[in-house]
Structure formats: structure tokens, C-alpha cells
Amino acid sequence: MEAKSESERLRPPRQRSLFREERRLGATMIAPSLAVIALVAAYPICYAIWLSLNEYSVITPGLSRFVGLDNYIDALSSSDFWGAWVTTIVFTAVSVSLELVIGLAMALVMHQAFRGRALLRAVVLVPWAILTVVTAITWRTIFEPELGFANTMLDALSLPGADVVWLGEEGYALAVMILADVWKTAPFMALLLLAGLQGIPDELHDAAKVDGASTWQRFRSITLPLLVPAITVALIFRSLDALRIFDLPYILTRGANGTETLSLIAQEELVTNRNTGFGSALAVLTFLTVMGISFLYIRFMGGNIRALTQEEGGR
């Protein structure tokens, strides 16, 4: 750094111009990020809405005509769309609930003091680190008809289900998809909740113990209420992620046997069938579904989120 004269250094800072300078620097520094997001996310979503209002010729590329809301009317009156919608909602609701219960159980175990706790935390990250595509292949090898692990085990223990073609039957296929998702993401949930648990002061538990509260009472009246913010954030993150699920059903079943999700059906129309207008309408409807559900979360759990953002702004 070049040396500055004594008088220059001692001069009182000119607050106002410094402030303006800082704002200018701030704007410059944030601009590249916002530019990327505007060009690759915001502009395309607007363009998607435009595409969804047109019909495109499959035979002559570039030929299109404005059809207004026709694509949406087609989509909303097709049983394929509603089938995918219900599948997506059921998948999200069931897998996120299971993840919450299993994740919470795992977090409570990991919060105990025992040797090898750090090792367990590393082990738990393994499913999280595995590519979703590989997760799907893993579960496909497990549920492979006859020679997979699941059927062999059921057969060896003479339990029912040994001759079920798991991925080939409606209902069972969705169950396998949910199982695969729970396996991959319950550990993530567990780590988020563990961070929440670690934020609860021990004194609270100690005080309750002195007052004679049982383990269950302490869990109900101390742990659970104080964990609500962490649970809320984890639920939102996981739900919004589950609603856009694509790779899992793509590899497991290609959407066959009741596993067609919204993202999958839209991608098929867009890429496989080259049905740009209708496919875009499906994509926009997927987007609206996700936004609608985020809105519901904010509406019903908004207090927690507001508290979090205030904390964010206050620091």
C-alpha cells in the first residue's frame, strides 16, 4: 500500500461521499450474480410463459401461432396432468413426512454423547453425497425382480411379497421411489435438525430434570417447541425439492406404473415429443404448483420465516 501523507490520513472521513461510494461498490459487486440469474433464470421463465401461449408446428420448425390459454385448457382437462399432479403431491407429502420422522430420530441419536460420534456424522453424509441417478440405480438393483436383494430376502424369510415385481406394479413402484428418496435425504434432514438441537441450551434440560420432568416430557415441552424453526426450514427446503423430483423416476421407471411426476411429464412433452407449447404449459403449471405450496408454507409458518430473515437482516 502506498504511504499517505500524515494530513491526509488524519482528515475526518467524509461520511456522505463514503456512503455513496459504498453503495456504488455494493451495486457493482452484486451485479454479476444478478445478471446471471436474470439472463439464465428470470428471462427464460418469462419466455416459457410466452411459449406456453403458442402452438408450434412439429413439421415446420419455427412455425407457430398464438393460441391463448388453449394449452392450459388441454393440460387441465387431461388425466395425465392430474395423474402426475397427484403422484407428485403424494410423493412429496409421504416422503417428506417420513424424512422428518426418521431424520429427527437420527438427529436425537447423533446428539447423544458416545464414542465415534464424528464417524457416525460422516457415515450419515454418504447417502447425501451419492448422485441421485446412482441412488436410483442402487435401488433398482435392490428391487430387481427375482435376483434383487429385496425379493431374495423376502423369499429366504418366507415373507409375503417375494414374487412381487416391485417396480412393475402401480403403488409398489411409487413406494420404492419414496424409499429411495427417504434414504438419500433423511440424513440431510437429520443434520439440519442436529444443528437445531445443538442450539438448545443444556441448562433448560437440566432445570427440567431437577423439576422431575421425564424424558418424554422434556422432549415434548422443551426439545420439540425449540426445534420448530429448524423443522420449518428443513420441511420447506425438502418439500420444494421433492416437488421438482425428476431424476429418480426417470431412472427407476421412466414414469411407468404410477410414478410420472410433474417435472417428468413436462420434460417428456418438451424433449421427447417436441411439443413446445403444451410442454411449456405443463412446466409453467409445475412452477405454479411449487410457488403455491411455498405460499402456503409462508402463510401458515410465516412467523418463523420472518423471525429468521429479521435475524439475517439484524446481524
Partner: protein
């Protein structure tokens, strides 16, 4: 009694987390004939599946493509994201709340919503089926994550250090480069790891925006492996390929376990 219960629970968690991956490794070590036996150990372990995937040009090419795309996404998000993270953490910024809200909503955005227009635009401007065409969408989805993590790490650096530099005549940008970035290095490593894993995992754009094997990243290549032979899947080779692309990630996760947990909770709990 309590100890026993804890150990049973720990054993259950370990089994739950590791067994499926063990089964995949087990499958990858079986010979073609042994694939039809569901034994817990490969009866006659072989590395044939591994040698055959490394002889497959489509697979080695895919590994290279993924390394290029995920590597570029990581470097670019760290570069662009660290500026934004600093601005959000330390500077007076107009519309700060709005910017945070935009970032958060992008990270929850379903990628399918922009797949069609991006496909059309990329075709028009000639970057369909190119690296840059794959890098840009992943960058847009990776940036919010980077910015959140970096902002939360930068915020924890004591202000006094930066102020001391400013008093010594450094500009704000110099303070950012010489003080914040080096002190925030753990955050940079964390964000880099998470973005790399995210970009390596990305699948929707990988299959939608590529058309030839010489541009296809790993997840898309694996999908084509399974898709081409719907009824007779080469289970052994797919498993081997899956193990190969997963091992580096597991190694990263085990080495940087603490960083990753810190990043996940910073991005989610604080964000």
C-alpha cells in the same frame, strides 16, 4: 441399558446409510453369471465390469465432461458469488431484502420451468450441446447457494480487522481481497464443495441440453446406459460406473465432513 439402546440405534443408522451402497458395490464385483444369484458377497469377485467401463469411450468422455462442467461452475460461482456475498454481508445496499428474496426463490425454482426456453435460446444462439450451454444453467442454480453460504461466513469475520485496513488507507475492494477472502477461506472451501457436488449431480439440463456422447456429463451418460437396453440392463457395468462416479464424492465428503455440515446448516438454517 441406555448405552445398549444407543448402540443399537447407531448400528441401525449405519446399516440404513451404508447397506444400499454396499449392495451396489457387491453387484459391480459380480461376473455376468453370478448376477442372477442375490448373494451378499460376490461368489467369484471380478474387476471385469470396471475394466470394461474404462474401455468404453462414452464413459471416460463423460467423466471428463462432468469434470469440466462441474469444475467451471464451481470456479465461476465462487468468483461471482464472493462479490455478492461480501456486498450482502457488509455493504449498505439498496433493496437488500429484495435481493435476498430473489436469491432464495431461485434456489427453490423447478429447473423444468426454464428447460424449454433455455433449449430454444441455446439452439438459436448456437450453444446447444456445448460446455458453456451446460455451465450457465447450473451456475444460475448454484449461485444462490454460494452467495448464502459466503455471506454467512463473511458476516462472522470481525469488522475491526476490515476497519483497521480502511483506516490504513485501503479501499473497500482491497479490504475485501486482502482480508475478507483469506479469512473467509473456510467458507469458500465449503461453498465450493457444495456447488461442485450440486453441479456434478445435475441431471435435467444434462440430458435436455446435450445430444451427443462427447458432451454428455456422467449422470446423463449413465441414464443412456440404462435407457438403451430397457429389458436387458447391463447391471454389472452400470453398477461399476455408478461406483466410480460416487467414490470421489464420498472421499470429498469424508475428508471435508465438518466443512460440509457447516455449509449445509449455514445455507439452510441461517438462510
Amino acid at each position: 441399558m441406555r448405552r445398549v439402546l444407543i448402540w443399537v440405534a447407531v448400528a441401525a443408522i449405519v446399516l440404513f446409510c451404508l447397506f444400499p451402497f454396499y449392495w451396489l458395490i457387491n453387484t459391480s464385483l459380480k461376473t455376468g453369471a453370478d448376477l442372477s444369484t442375490a448373494s451378499l458377497l460376490p461368489p467369484s469377485p471380478t474387476l471385469d465390469n470396471y475394466t470394461s467401463i474404462f474401455e468404453d469411450a462414452a464413459f471416460t468422455k463423460a467423466l471428463r465432461n462432468s469434470a469440466i462442467v462441474a469444475g467451471s461452475v464451481t470456479v465461476l460461482s465462487l468468483l461471482i458469488g464472493s462479490f455478492a456475498g461480501y456486498a450482502l454481508a457488509r455493504l449498505h445496499l439498496p433493496f437488500k431484502f429484495l435481493i435476498l428474496a430473489i436469491l432464495l426463490s431461485i434456489s427453490t425454482f423447478p429447473p423444468i420451468a426454464i428447460a424449454a426456453p433455455v433449449f430454444e435460446i441455446w439452439t438459436d444462439i448456437g450453444i446447444y450441446n456445448t460446455y458453456i450451454g451446460l455451465i450457465l444453467p447450473s451456475l444460475a442454480f448454484g449461485l444462490p447457494l454460494t452467495v448464502y453460504i459466503l455471506a454467512s461466513f463473511f458476516r462472522d469475520i470481525p469488522r475491526e480487522l476490515e476497519e483497521a485496513a480502511l483506516i490504513d488507507g485501503a479501499t473497500r475492494f482491497q479490504a475485501f481481497r486482502k482480508i475478507i477472502v483469506p479469512l473467509g477461506a473456510p467458507g469458500v472451501v465449503t461453498a465450493g464443495l457444495l456447488v461442485f457436488i450440486f453441479a456434478w449431480n445435475e441431471f435435467l439440463f444434462a440430458i435436455t441440453l446435450t445430444s451427443t456422447p462427447d458432451r454428455r456429463p456422467v449422470p446423463a451418460a449413465i441414464a443412456f446406459f440404462t435407457g438403451s437396453q430397457q429389458f436387458e440392463i447391463p447391471l454389472g457395468t452400470i453398477s461399476a460406473a455408478s461406483v466410480v462416479v460416487t467414490v470421489p464424492l464420498i472421499a470429498l465428503v469424508l475428508i471435508f465432513q465438518r466443512r460440509i455440515v457447516a455449509g449445509l446448516t449455514a445455507g439452510a438454517v441461517k438462510g
